[in-house]
Symmetry: C2
Subunit: 122 residues, 2 copies
């Protein structure tokens, strides 16, 4: 199950569970939590649940596919990430204007932030 | 089907469809769209779909329940509304500081906004 970038995968799964976890069964969430939060190995989870290592592997793969399926349909993680990027950029612009003590800059940053919020783009 | 506050209901259904609509079937989305977007009556939708008025009524009720069920589990509309309220409040504070041309106020507003974003509260 080790991916090229384990950290990216971990972050991805955390986000997917955060948004869609409640659509999973208790058992599915439990296995995800063992693997991605408690960092147990497949063998350790298998021991814990009294099932085969292969069963744990299959369940993990199936649940990841389920979560990615929800994201494919609803795209709420993607929407959240896009909005978050905009907010972080806005914060950056405002902090820069503050550092420069530039009133015009801060005024522009606030206006464009206000427009973004009012138009529902974040 | 007329509710005490039709507008509130309309806004609610729009939000629910916006977040969870892709979990519905094509036909379920179609009926919602006839009713809530095109503003067709139950009778008109029944004619359109060659089913009884009662069948349309039942389908609408079932779909509303489905959507509220997803929201009950995932709470993403609620999360979005809470975050949106915070953003609108932040915009209000910043605009007020701009109007007063008060540098300390704007500095505080930006810092608390930055903290909010960085801590993932919006």
């Amino acid at each position: 199950m080790m991916e090229e970038s384990t950290l990216d995968k971990l972050i991805r799964m955390n986000l997917l569970v955060d948004f869609y976890g409640q659509l999973l069964t208790e058992r599915q969430r439990q296995v995800l939590s063992y693997y991605y939060e408690d960092n147990l190995s497949l063998g350790e989870i298998a021991n814990e649940l009294k099932v085969s290592r292969q069963a744990v592997f299959d369940l993990l793969k199936r649940v990841e596919k389920l979560l990615e399926g929800y994201e494919g349909k609803l795209g709420l993680v993607n929407r959240w990430q896009t909005e978050r990027a905009k907010l972080l950029q806005t914060v950056g612009e405002m902090k820069e204007a503050l550092a420069k003590r530039d009133w015009n800059n801060i005024e522009n940053a606030v206006q464009s932030f206000a427009k973004m919020v009012e138009e529902g783009r974040v």
